[in-house]
Assembly symmetry: D3
Homo-oligomer: 273 residues x 6
């Protein structure tokens, strides 16, 4: 069960409203790297967490923090939309800055939401919950969370570098710091689960004897007329410590597939039957 | 530029067609953990790769391999659909197995595709390209790829354990092995990029002095009436080696937000203006 | 069965084409508050209407009117796109107004539709039919329709206040008037179905004795460190006339959920099994 | 800011797991009438609430309660999936009940989530956030909420009547009761905002003198060869108290629209230019 | 403007309700080959039709007919859902046919629509309006319409062959006949627009002198280790009469692309800058 | 299986980067007329091709070429984004051109992809794989391909006419030429399949004796108060050579549908039962 106190986790101040920046901030709310995504991802991972209950607590706890981040960003969007030109057209017709500002916003923030935040990205595309990765495998979930916080911090840094508003920079410095923690936190959890040699290959419950081990650590080259790229992945012990990397020129092992004729009453052309 | 030889990377044999398994295999084609996703993700990451060109080659190479995996799985779906009951209803009306098989398939595989594979998941939902994570940050991309191959191998293992068909088990043993390699390969690439202490926090180009460092390694507890979960994330040096973990009871630092009144002609109720 | 006469329900005149306004008008076609939505919603509600047939007729009739509104708006979009700058770039390179206009349009109106309307919203997102609420419960359908016409009229008013074109203002005055009627019409239908005390709680066919009536009229407060908001909802008889409002501090009645271990071959980590 | 105690608002007990019912329950999580929708809708309405702050508190409070409903339902889905047949196919091949159960589930609950809940509906379609109606008009928002709770209670009643499990019936009796309260609560809020004669037509800030009032209370009949349906909407004072209903045979007032020729270099056929 | 008489274009009779067939019929309503799609496609093509107005009339006329087809199919879905097992679970628990029927339906038809049709496909996926192809080029539109009616008739034939219900077969015989007409009608329109040699390559307004004509009629072979497929496309005059087909081994004409380094403050890793 | 050489099929040169044109080019990557669509469409058609194997080869070959077109366009997008204004806001605040450029881009190209291409359209909407038409009927597939290449060439021509950059014009001249070939190629394949009189009506395997042939070649007029549009479709032999066109005034042959009452416990209102 959840509770709220209606206050913001960290102050949100906008000194000079900037509707274009409001649009950019929408990416941090409803973008695939945004806060709705991490909030819901941690929440549903918690819902499906089996095994040691501390991971469930960890996930639920951070999901709860993230709701507050959506709250902060939604406040920031609304405050940045103050002063945006949406009044009578006459006022902006000959003003290129105003025109470009109006043209550069997600019009839905005006037309659908009355100058407020929406669960959409910076191009007005609504967030879709298929981005909630919750696999039932706790280690796979941790990799998804590291990835989410990595792209999340990249986004926050880009937003931070787009604005000169002191209030917005301050808020983003806080959110960037939280992303630093969350990257570390999920890496720490993965370490608890065994790290590269203990948790990988994920799922570690699958007996590797049942996979085609001759292909488990081979880099297949599909490049014509060129050398395959070499690096840590092409030679030496594998990162999971269970094999040796090698490079192989990929050759087809199977044949050209041929499907049987279509069924007589299956809607194909007569020639296909 | 791309080339094809029309042959399969690995043999695809179905001994006893199973339409329910065809439906399950669709998840590996058009699911968010599926092969279209990794193929397109590596492809678009290659398209945006800046810096050392070997990462571009690495990504493009593996994207090219993955097209062949879609090809294998699409063949497997079509072969598993052979023999499915879609003829005249009379033939299946009193046959509960046939009824349940028909009911248990994605009908679009019959109705839209004429007993062939589609770019949809196991519930018939089309793949949507927003799942292609390509951030322009090469390390963030690697974390996304490790996550994709982790959930991908989890899926392949689940499929492997759902079937007893020798041909299908053989094919999946190959795909599971490739996922093992790809998990290792992207971890290896991340290691080349500096690993936990060199690449993190991602992006490592952002000066940490500009984030609120007092919050960068604190676990904020949002749990009421309970102890926060402890582990590697709550004490000791951070995984990125740049801080010290601590646990903090989260308290609001901001105030209750109050938005200004609505604009007179902005479509709000009169009471809001 | 349907018929058309090819004429517009109300004149559509654009005195001075305005491509930015064309973009805004798209929200009234393909936005979630738009005309495709109400048209299809009333149509599918009619298709599932059971009971007194006059509601089916009412719904089908208004669905039929709404097709004509899409027709009007699509005409308005095409006329507003006349004169938009999409020719050779040279002509607009140094013209900030033209640049901002081009940048501020949904490019798909040019690139995909050749300067015509599309079934997309003001940010170019296609309408998706999941917004067609048709529940099979005639009273629930009426509440959905009141809501649709309320947000629809809010949108029309916002559009009306964005333009100074006399033709567009005239057309919107007509559409706003029709939304007034439709709000009233669906409220009238809800009144015929019994109004607050007869139709609610919806569905009124469910015996309230079978719900946990001790919680049926309680406002649960989830706010920490603050007073719950008071109003008509916190004290006195309930609006449906079947209970008495009260305020309760919400406390968990259930326990922490614990899921059983994962299955041995279910793709989880070994630690979860 | 938000907090959680990890406990359920109301006990969730499943006596006899039922995978088909798990699928049905998914509609209450990720369906358009489900709990994610109301939770996010109230949350974003709060974020955009302007005017009397008690509406913001009211919305935020109930959003907070709804997170706990997602938690209850996600727990119920996972518990109902226990015992579902997803092991080796041999075990179910000749068992029509098992086959039909497997066929009748959303396979993603197995394949993607490892026997856990997902933010998808009962057919496996992910929830999409465009269903979050938050208009910036507080009265329009209330109508959207009444509609959401009406379809929500209809759904809960249907689920209640689909199951005989005592634990599930008990949980649903609680949720149905909460929907009763929430229908009443939003009707109460609408009453505070003036009710039919004070709040309508929404938005009440738009001067009705600026709409085409001759069409504001007319039922336009589009039915050929038949009588228009009569009722409270066809005669007498309008529900908003500002007009008189009448019935009018709809006639086109506009002309056939003719678009100008296509532009020479706009990608049309030569005949269209 | 549009009118309706509430009657069906052709009788819809269901002798023996079949909920599985109801699910299949949903594809013809909300599938990408379905009637909503053709209806809306012709409608929006009409809205953007420039040039000879008879094409606009033709499109609007057939759009109007198609609304009636949705009406017929929605009626057929509702009638087929009569008798479906959705009551108390006890009644079906030990009945494999009933279980498989319940499992084999789109549950949303029960849970969301109360045993009625929805604008979704046979797997419950809502129709999305991006499938409305209306290009502003009248000839391109005709090719899209021929394609739509071709897949539409394929679907109708598949449905016809899935059922033995005389009423349903009769209805589908009518719809198949209409698809025959509509295929012919759009081919006829394309003939009026010049046919293969007059209308193609589409758009015919683009001066072919401005394309790289050395590649305009060459079949590029991308097949390794095999002969390119030969046929009408590999030799002889092109179908549009403006060139000669040839076969060419595809070779890269461009170089390996190299992007410049990332920007210093653009969120990339330090190594990429 | 697939191979790549990392080189571009045709040179991609951008002389003067233009971020607005980058946005427009996104339509050719991730728009419904774009290259991902044709690539995947031909690929999945190949996967489901039954009958003469040369059609499978033809489809797979051209799918392989199209991957290279995505590669070219993704390179073009990244090169056009060079120089786009996304740095500190101060630098662009008083520069209307820079403001309009920033406002006119898909912000996701900056925020999510770090100045690279994405699988989205020109308004930032991700491509969704339901646009992959692969019907299992080889002739229907060819019509879908002719349509795809027709809208594709229309788009390429519009892009060609939007830019003055010599490099971009050169690249588009190549792509326009390839679209010319592909239109011709699929028409040629349709000719091999019998052309209008042999392949149509599609599917040609359905016995026309089983359709309601009295309606197979009739133009039904649904226009009130007007003459039906006449043309090649209204009189003379049908294009498929199997009937004679005629014009008929459409009259309802069916009755008003009446659904039975709702079920007692099905969530309807009491009045509907």
């Amino acid at each position: 069960m959840f509770y709220s106190d209606g206050k913001l986790q960290y102050p949100v101040v906008v000194e000079k409203p900037d509707p274009l920046f409001a649009r950019a901030l929408q990416q941090a709310i409803g973008g695939v790297e945004g806060e709705i995504r991490v909030c819901m991802q941690y929440f549903f991972q918690a819902m499906g967490a089996r095994g040691n209950p501390k991971f469930r607590d960890l996930l639920l706890n951070t999901a709860t923090e993230e709701i507050g981040h959506i709250e902060m960003l939604a406040t920031a969007v609304a405050l940045n939309l103050e002063g945006a030109p949406v009044g009578l057209k006459d006022e902006i017709a000959d003003d290129p800055i105003a025109s470009s500002v109006l043209g550069g916003t997600n019009l839905k923030n005006f037309l659908s939401a009355g100058m407020s935040a929406m669960p959409v990205d910076s191009d007005g595309v609504p967030f879709d919950m298929s981005h909630v990765y919750a696999s039932g495998n706790i280690a796979a979930d941790m990799t998804a969370n590291i990835a989410a916080e990595s792209t999340g911090r990249v986004l926050a840094v880009r937003l931070y570098n787009m604005t000169t508003d002191p209030g917005m920079k301050d808020m983003l410095q806080f959110l960037i710091a939280r992303d630093t923690m969350h990257q570390n936190q999920w890496m720490a959890a993965l370490e608890e689960l065994g790290g590269p040699t203990g948790a990988f290959p994920i799922p570690n419950s699958h007996p590797q004897a049942e996979e085609k081990q001759e292909f488990s650590y081979s880099f297949f080259s599909h490049l014509l007329n060129g050398e395959p790229p070499t690096g840590r992945w092409s030679t030496g012990p594998s990162v999971d410590g269970k094999g040796e990397f090698s490079v192989v020129n990929s050759e087809p092992m199977g044949q050209k597939p041929v499907l049987p004729p279509a069924r007589p009453r299956g809607g194909a052309q007569a020639e296909q039957i």
